[in-house]
Symmetry: C2
Subunit: 417 residues, 2 copies
């Protein structure tokens, strides 16, 4: 995409009403717009990141046999009264139907999906099943000061599993746990993200969270220095030693980027989701739930990988793979940069081409702030030498590349994802 | 996808509380689930159709230079008071923020997008711009009896254009009108969809609608028998003759599948979206809006192309390209069907593989109801002959195909899209 065509622009000043680092950076770089506290719009660059994150997660959900659906936001009171969650006042946004009747805006989807599944599950032969969606959640947060890390409205991937029994549930749960580790690794935050034991619920003493180290984290975890598994502050008292045997821990401030829960039969009992086993006996379905907030993951990547110059995107989620920066507008430079751009597009490389008529300093500052992983500079000097200058955003390493060697470089990055 | 893996099942009986043909068919075939009147969940087959429609529309929006964003559903009262649309009581779902403050759920997005654009548009050099999104709208309809054709919650593609003046606006408008004609053609309803003159607004006497002939349509149009352009009942009195000169019209019942509007400077004036021209003078931006409801389009395709046996999807939006139906479970048939399935997957063909252990009659009935464009039957007979039977769902034509000739056939369909 030519940058002269992109409607967003960067800004130098931090927005006055924004206290979070992620939203400050993302607003200055033109990725998002603040509608109100906890409610953000995704602008072209930001939406490209969200779509890449969505694609990355979808791939892993499909690998474990997930089937994608999309449930409604508007929710019927009746279903939620059956699980006694209609009166959870701190979380719902509620509204009124013209002509009468109270509705809620879904903050999660255990109830409606369990209800849907009663139409399709009746026999042991129908199980196990894993169903997921990318869907907008609404949560009436009293405070929303963490930018896109804690939204009042946000896109969430939520998967729900349906199993015959505890044993089959645990197989699905273990597979999903592995899938989550893979997702955070591919999203570029694997090394700073810890599978973390946290409080469970009625059906198991513990749940599993995925906690990412950040200076501004809301949570505190204790990371085992021997095996890297962590324990949330809330359960740490229960674990004098790690399950690996070590008793040496490091304390970290973190943010939760994902969580997985054993729901047992709480929802299937309340909503009548059961199956006949081989002997003809009715049993309640054993459920699990598995969430990742896409905005929160994007915000976490923005906060943890950025540097003093701006955003730093890993190739897997970056809005573009290459930022082609043209310096100067003499005929030969323009022709060479245009050709280079067209050549990369033909190879399927995603390129933001800075063809603007502004100073080199402004172009470099903007490029640093936007944080595309590879920057290629085309100038009178590089046109003369026949090799253009490529800078890796994260490491700052500089290479010299021709068009074909750049395509190879990109492809080696893409292969890694 | 193996059908034994698909969690939805077809049902023979029509849902009791459903009066619309589209929702009746889609529920029976397992594409959607009714949450409440006017609110539907998309199940795996239905979501695949919606995603295909989304892809088809996105392609045309990108072709005309559209930039994709995603704005929030939660809306601030203040912005909408500026255009005096906050008090449009019949359409809003409103809600309350914990801690105080009234919010609305967007039923359209002129106001918030105009507000966003004030951050990025200041000079004539910034225009023209076209910005679009696929975003969930909420409309508090008093009656919602048309299935997914008139939702209280529905996915909409809305594009907004921003132009220097009326002349530049008209260029964008004409391009979008062509793009819409292309979209409905590709979605398989081109021949029964008419560009229709309808009532305009403050800034132009007429708007353009796209009206599709259906028995159950809410609208009445008068189609010129000479040139196929139509006039909505509401403006017909103003046109004794068609713009082509003919005065011969046919009256049709239709449903509106898209509309495009000249907004003039109504929103830019109210929200302060202006630009400096070359002489330094401030001017209001001239806007247009262009909508397509994805559920409505899907419902229209379902209603108009279906037959007495069930749904009939055009290849462009079908949930799968091929329905591979295996008859019987003798070893050779299973091996042959499995190989055929794997071979098609390798070629990138989207296949639903009916590997269930049910009767041939049930398989054919389900296949007719689900409406995938090509059905390939693998049976003891076809295994022996070396050629499998392929039936076109729409025409009922039968052909005999080998694996490689089927891949060619699919590719010729896909090329047409």
């Amino acid at each position: 995409m030519r940058q002269t065509h992109l409607f967003t622009k960067t800004r130098k000043e931090s927005p006055k009403d924004e206290t979070s680092k992620n939203a400050d950076l993302l607003i200055r770089a033109g990725f998002i717009h603040k509608e109100m506290a906890g409610v953000y719009d995704y602008l072209p660059l930001g939406l490209r990141v969200i779509k890449n994150i969505e694609g990355l997660i979808r791939k892993e959900m499909d690998k474990v046999g997930g089937q994608e659906v999309e449930l409604s936001s508007l929710q019927n009171k009746e279903i939620w009264e059956k699980t006694e969650r209609w009166d959870a006042k701190d979380i719902w946004f509620k509204t009124e139907l013209n002509g009468g009747g109270e509705l809620g805006l879904g903050f999660t989807h255990e109830e409606p999906l369990t209800q849907v599944m009663t139409n399709f599950v009746s026999s042991y032969k129908d199980l196990p099943l894993s169903v997921y969606q990318f869907q907008t959640k609404f949560r009436n947060e009293l405070r929303a000061k963490s930018g896109i890390m804690r939204g009042r409205e946000f896109l969430m991937k939520d998967m729900y599993t349906f199993a015959l029994d505890k044993e089959q549930h645990e197989e699905l749960y273990a597979k999903l746990k592995e899938a989550y580790i893979e997702i955070f690794k591919k999203a570029g935050i694997g090394e700073i993200t810890h599978p973390t034991k946290a409080l469970g619920g009625t059906f198991s003493p513990y749940s599993d969270e995925f906690q990412t180290e950040t200076g501004s984290g809301e949570d505190t975890i204790h990371v085992c220095t021997a095996c890297n598994i962590a324990y949330n502050e809330e359960v740490k008292g229960e674990f004098e030693k790690c399950t690996c045997g070590s008793d040496s821990f490091e304390t970290k401030k973190t943010v939760e980027v994902g969580n997985i829960f054993n729901l047992g039969t709480k929802f299937s009992e309340a909503l009548g989701l059961s199956y006949k086993d081989e002997s003809g006996k009715e049993n309640n379905v054993h459920m699990g739930s598995y969430g990742i907030g896409l905005g929160r993951l994007m915000g976490t990547i923005a906060e943890t990988l950025s540097d003093e110059k701006g955003l730093v995107w890993p190739m897997s989620v970056a809005p573009f793979q290459v930022h082609l920066v043209r310096l100067g507008d003499n005929e030969e430079v323009v022709r060479s940069a245009d050709e280079f751009y067209e050549g990369l597009l033909r190879e399927g490389v995603e390129v933001l081409y800075d063809d603007r008529d502004v100073s080199a300093g402004e172009k470099f500052n903007d490029s640093d702030l936007i944080g595309i992983p590879l920057r290629v500079v085309v100038s009178a000097k590089t046109v003369q030498s026949g090799e253009h200058e490529m800078v890796e955003r994260q490491s700052g390493k500089t290479h010299f590349v021709t068009e074909s060697s750049l395509v190879d470089t990109i492809q080696s990055y893409v292969r890694e994802i």
